[in-house]
């Protein structure tokens, strides 16, 4: 699939110097996107967390240790490793805004996309979803419930994009020229410290565009060529260095990050 350019590029900048790892984003995401609860979530290789939070450390001994929390949504790569490999076109990057879609009724569950994604942003439904009795009444109308056997991932709360477009249409405004904050995902909305900023990376007025242009901004595994639409931000050198793999000699100069 050839690289598509869009007028609008939805992006996220996550300020790792503000994230406390509280988990509110992840839970808000779960509620918003109808991800079922898990009684035993201790095997983290089997849990589904569209917004997964990693702990980073500078690896130093007490008292020089520093840590940072890194929330990891889907990177909505400009050059996705996942969508090109899907044999049945269940995941694509073809919509204005650049969100990588995932269509559950099309997915055949081959999991090739999961093998392709270096961010582990994709999750498989190992079993049918189960909500405790009655809790299925709290399902939002925004995202269809997924059966077993299909892959899912963060969609930047795409339904909110749709809702914002409907609102714009109702207001007689241009649905493709949304004002800042007309559309933000549940995680960004929930974040108590405002560490997650969302907007159009191509609109220089949007905060994301400004933050992404900062010298403190970086992207995960950028040198693989995935061209993510999610940026991270940290003034701490060691945090930025953990955003990608570097050879020892590359780190000495420190210019890569």
């Amino acid at each position: 699939m050839q690289h598509m350019e869009f007028k609008v590029k939805w992006g996220m900048v996550i300020d790792l110097d503000k994230c406390t790892g509280c988990g509110a984003c992840s839970i808000a995401c779960r509620a918003e996107n109808n991800i079922p609860p898990m009684q035993d979530a201790s095997n983290k290789l089997r849990t589904t967390d569209w917004m997964n939070i990693y702990e980073l450390s500078n690896g130093k001994k007490f008292p020089d240790l520093e840590i940072a929390y890194l929330p990891r949504p889907c990177m909505q790569c400009g050059n996705p490793s996942c969508s090109t490999v899907c044999p049945v076109v269940a995941t694509t990057k073809d919509e204005e805004g650049g969100i990588v879609s995932q269509v559950y009724p099309r997915c055949i569950g081959c999991r090739y996309c999961m093998a392709a994604c270096p961010y582990h942003a994709r999750y498989f439904n190992w079993f049918d979803p189960i909500w405790p009795e009655g809790m299925e009444k709290t399902l939002t109308p925004y995202v269809s419930a997924r059966p077993r056997g299909v892959v899912e991932k963060c969609t930047f709360c795409h339904h909110r994009f749709n809702a914002a477009k409907e609102q714009a249409r109702a207001n007689g405004a241009d649905p493709l020229d949304l004002p800042e904050d007309a559309y933000i995902p549940a995680c960004a909305e929930a974040c108590p410290t405002g560490a997650i900023v969302f907007g159009n990376l191509k609109n220089p007025e949007h905060r994301v565009a400004k933050l992404a242009a900062s010298k403190y901004a970086f992207r995960l595994l950028a040198r693989l060529g995935t061209d993510p639409q999610v940026y991270y931000y940290s003034k701490r050198d060691w945090v930025r260095q953990l955003g990608d793999n570097y050879l020892q000699k590359e780190l000495k100069g420190g210019e890569h990050v």
Partner: protein, 411 residues
């Protein structure tokens, strides 16, 4: 009509009771696997040890391994019918059956391995032409059909079935067109063996398997083709030998086996040459480009140490390659078989590390190594496919004239 009348002409087989006991033994694995399959299809793939990090595991390794080893079918067919190496007629039937079993077995495993088998046909109806897997789906299903077409005339040659004139003619006509099918099979097979390699080679998020391209194909495309044809003939030859051991009868002349060994050896040399070049270029070029080092690709604590690499390249690569091209080694059965086994093991290791180790390596610097070991649900179903192979092979051996030399060799 006694059961003996169904045997191929002029050969001896064990008595029916013994044969049925053997089938009963095989059925234990079939039943266990059927239970595993029932759990997988009925409740979900969660019953396996697969997880979101190891989205591919034993099943995919098994599929890739048997498809590589089953390459004896298309390659022997190619040599026999296209390159006209006549000697291979003595083993070509076996190669076809082994190939058929490997491919149909892989397809059965895939039914379990994909989350929504009821939608498997989407691969045809909604294909993503950019995906290597689409190519694999097309070629494998097509080639499986070719193998069925190649297998059918063998069935029709059963002594009783062949009495029917229609069947007899049909079988004969099939044989006439066999070079055509061999040609189609060669084309399809080369492509999907390559696409299977390509599937990994294009994963630019997986530094362990990613390879730069040669035209539209990554290197792994060609490496997989080469490794498959380097191990397929050896595996076919081993199958024949294994059947001889079990049945106590001579089925294929040692000359033919030596020829198969020689073919495998030459191809293995060819493959190893490029594989070693590839590994070097990968370690020196691709990895540093991604900011990674060779050492970072291995972790013996997690079970993915460099031992696998040395086993694959040296013990099961260079060593059998040298052995197989050395006539003195080929002349000694024990050494020939050992070399053939090493050859096959090397290719299985290759498929294993490409599938599992590739996924175990943490790409994000703050991520960690995880290990994977298959559980009963994966073993039972995989063994079921092995048992299915034994079952079909046992029946074929007993009732179909597979080995043209059998009568002469056991006189």
């Amino acid at each position: 009509m006694s059961e003996r009348e169904f045997w191929p002409e002029g050969v001896e087989r064990c008595d029916l009771g013994k044969f049925l006991a053997w089938l009963g033994f095989i059925s234990i694995f079939l039943l266990w696997g059927a239970y595993g399959a029932y759990k997988v299809l009925g409740t979900g793939i969660g019953v396996t040890a697969l997880d979101n990090y190891f989205s591919f595991g034993l099943w995919i390794t098994f599929d890739l391994a048997v498809i590589a080893l089953g390459a004896g079918a298309f390659f022997s067919g190619f040599l026999r019918y296209i390159m006209r190496i006549d000697e291979l007629k003595n083993i070509i039937n076996l190669a076809v059956i082994v190939g058929f079993l490997c491919y149909s077995g892989a397809m059965l495993i895939l039914v379990l391995d994909i989350g929504q088998p009821l939608r498997a046909w989407f691969g045809y109806w909604h294909p993503n032409v950019h995906s290597m897997l689409t190519e694999v789906i097309f070629c494998i299903t097509c080639y499986c059909t070719v193998l069925i077409i190649e297998y059918v005339p063998l069935i029709l040659e059963n002594r009783q079935i062949a009495k029917n004139r229609f069947c007899h003619h049909l079988a004969h006509n099939f044989h006439v067109y066999m070079p055509l099918f061999a040609g189609i099979g060669t084309f399809l097979s080369t492509f999907h063996q390559g696409s299977l390699g390509g599937m990994y080679g294009v994963l630019f998020g997986r530094p362990f398997v990613f390879r730069e391209g040669f035209f539209i194909w990554p290197w792994t495309f060609f490496l997989f083709v080469a490794s498959a044809i380097a191990s397929g003939p050896a595996f076919t030859m081993l199958c024949a030998t294994f059947m001889e051991t079990i049945t106590g009868r001579k089925l294929v002349s040692y000359e033919t086996k030596k020829l198969m060994g020689k073919i495998a050896g030459l191809l293995l040399c060819f493959y190893m040459f490029f594989k070693i070049l590839d590994t070097y270029a990968w370690a020196k070029g691709i990895l540093p480009g991604m900011g990674l080092t060779f050492d970072q690709m291995f972790n013996s604590e997690a079970g993915y140490g460099k031992g696998w690499l040395w086993a694959e390249l040296f013990w099961c690569g260079i060593i059998p390659a040298i052995m197989l091209v050395t006539p003195a080694v080929r002349n000694r059965p024990a050494l020939l078989y050992t070399a053939a086994i090493l050859d096959c093991v090397g290719i299985v290791i290759n498929r294993f590390v490409f599938t599992v180790q590739a996924l175990a390596i943490p790409v994000m610097p703050f991520d960690q190594w995880f290990s994977y070991s298959p559980n009963w649900a994966e073993w039972s179903t995989s063994l079921m496919i092995v048992a299915y192979g034994f079952l079909v092979m046992s029946l074929s051996y007993r009732y179909l004239p597979i080995f043209p030399q059998e009568r002469a060799l056991n006189r």
